[in-house]
Amino acid sequence: MANEISIALAGQPNCGKSTIFNLLTGAKQHVANYPGVTIEKKYGYFKCFGSSMTLIDLPGTYSLASYSPEEITTRTFLLEEKPELILGVLDASSVEKGLYFLLQLMEMEQKVVVALNMVDVAKSRQIYVDEKILSKELGVSVVSLSAAQGKGKDELLKAIEAEKTQFSKTQSLKAQYSVYYGDLEPFIERVMKICEGYDLAFPLRWTAIKLLEKDSHVESLVKKSLQNSDVLVQVEDIRNEFYEKFKQDPCKFIGFCRHEKAREIARKACRRPMTEVHSLTEKLDAVLCHKIFGPFCLALILYLFYYLSVTVGNILAAKGWILWTEVENFARAVLPQENFLYDELLTSLGNWIVKSVTSVLNYLPIFLIMFALVAILEDSGYLARIAFILDRIFHAYGLHGQSTLPLILGGVYVGGCAIPGVMATKGIPDERSRFVTILIVPMMNCLAKVPLYLLLIAVFFPDTAGSTMFFIGTVTLFMGMITAKILSMTVLKHKCTAPFIIELPNYHIPTVKSVLLQTFQRIWLFFKKISTIIVAVSVIVFVLISYPGLSDDRKAYYDGQAQAVIGRFMADVEKTALSGKFTEQDIMPLIAYQDELRAKKKGVSQEDAKLINAQALKDEPVLASIVLRQGKDGRILAKSLRILDSSRKNLRREMRQETFEKSLIGRAGKALESVTKWAGFDWKINVALLSALAAKENSAATLGAIYGIESGTVADGLKAQENGITPLHALALMLFMTLYPPCIPAAMMIKLQTGSAKWMIFSMIYQMTAGLLVASFVFTGANLLGLSATEAMWTYYGLCLITAVLLYFVKLKEA
């Protein structure tokens, strides 16, 4: 909109920028206590005395150099989009540090109004800031506020309104304020003279200072717009001259001058206590970061996190499942009814999609708890302490203290999800560590891997279930660490590393409102991002497992079988009074009616069931008499119906299996057998693993579809001698599953967070390869050495442990 006035919100991390954003716009936006959460540029709208304003939330940065993408984003935005006004946010309890940033902002010749935020927090620490002095020193208006308490909004709007009259005037504002650089001033003048003749798109003095600072971003901008690199050579000479004369690096000199100025202003404007006030934060840190109590508290908090999200989450998920079953039933009722053998595409595809969606929705309670706990950890300020405590260990493997949260979310030990895990890597400032974390998060044990573990453990390791689960839970962490180190020594060797400098913010109790807001925003984001993907992927998988389908003569065979089954039932019908009245067309409605009646009676008391039966006999006398075995005819037909029903189910299962075997995925599974035989996988397991690409919980379900032969359970099917599956096969399969490639939704998240499809594909291929290598190594190795599954398991465990410990001592090069 043309008449809208754009205002940018700028400030350092943790200065309460986001709370001001919410205060002004009322927009639902993320607020957190962890440095660097706001990376995206966010927009919000508000009215100021009748005028429409657009508020742009800039990334929080400590400085305006050009070392991080956030800084460059901020600068580019200010230079190119030229907002009419900048709202510079200062944290009242650390004015000096904030001023250092603000002075740089003003040097860019931007129109600034200062929002002095968190005055209440400062007051509680006996720090008082005089906004009048600050305003006089800086030459701009300063407004005090406590955005978190909702105080100061009106004053802020008034200040914006007061500036508004000048918005329409000339675009090129002279600097309202500039730091005086003492000895460097004549040198700045000289650089300005050099650049003067050219038509630069950005402020002259700022450009000169930045060139003297050797700012790579401005250097490249200048090079591009002047097409004459001679300027840079001249500037370099001037830099050297300064260095020779004053034995000081101009870059550092500039920084010192800014700090000097910031300190001077802060000293004038702030009144602080003479004696140190020991804040609650310092007292808490004395315990939470203590040599002994620190790790102990951390373990306790992480255990609590795990317990609440996974254990309690699972209990809630089980409750929620009732609801999702209702959804599935509803879909089945709405979609065209099933046919005797071949369902319509709409029916089978529709049911398939609904099932795929509900299988993810099933995790909703767990995600809800997880996201809420993450918000609490972030807002309380403890997350930064976790990074502080664990960085040493993680850093040795190429990870970062801030990798902790993504790994927990991804499922260190057991139960997590790679999607929120990968999402949470956003805050890691070190590019190499961030990539390593993104690549190993999918190796953790997400919830969807658990059903397969549980199935295999129940069948093959029933006596050592506990220790086997412990093996799976911990060996993944070792393998993850080994992989992390290898990745950072090889493919990620040249990714940039960044210094580990994180602010340890003051502790505060998170508000219920803020936690709920963040939880629902994240849940919403999560579902928005994956819902379409799940549907699309489920359609693709459906095609892969259904086509090309059965050949005509196989179809004819099944049709014949079906006819024989139907014929037998109809012959029984002929023997009863229903002869002539009940035709072949009535069979499907009869089966559907039986299912419906069963569903209705599920979980009700016996008296209620009797009532339902009585009502059914009244409403549908013919169908109900058969289903409920009323009279002689009813008894005969009920028995016949049971045979019909089970024959139909068997036929459909046989058909599905055959379709599966002939399908694209089945063929792929067979083709892969030559490679996977070293790991002990036959084509059936290959198919199960391939189907898990869409979502890992499919693996147990597909194994069920393939091995759940006849009426037996999956477990019986797996155990059956003719399949030849031994505990060693199961071990290889579980190890492969631990390293299994991320499911498609997680892979999409990897693409989003790494910004490239290349890394997404890499992550899928390397994990698949690693999984296959490990499974083959264990399976073939154990066979050669004649080890039992349990022996192989613990030998492998020992090898991983030793490798991980040895790799700890290998030094990583900083890039």
Binding site: Y62, S63, A65, Y67, S93, S94, E96, K97, Y100, R125, I127, D249, C251, K252, G255, F256, H259, E260, A262, T281, E282, D285, C289, H290, K291, I292, G294, P295, A384, A387, F388, I389, L390, D391, R392, I393, H395, G401, A498, P499, F500, I501, I502, E503, L504, P505
Partner: protein
Amino acid sequence: MKTLADLKNKQECIVKEILADGILGQRLMDLGLCPDTKILFVRRSPFNDPIHIKIGDYHVALRQSEASSIMVETNG
């Protein structure tokens, strides 16, 4: 001369010189670590690294390798 990484818990010091440049130099500068700044070495992490320092009113954690580029003077 000592570096910041050599200090003990609860020890105070004055910054003399910063030997780092590039991104590390910039980040340390952003924290306000220039000559004559007073720093309190609060504690080491339970696993010895990183270290927790207090500059003015705010608390920062940085790795030992980074802290060793900050030359300091203690009064003890």
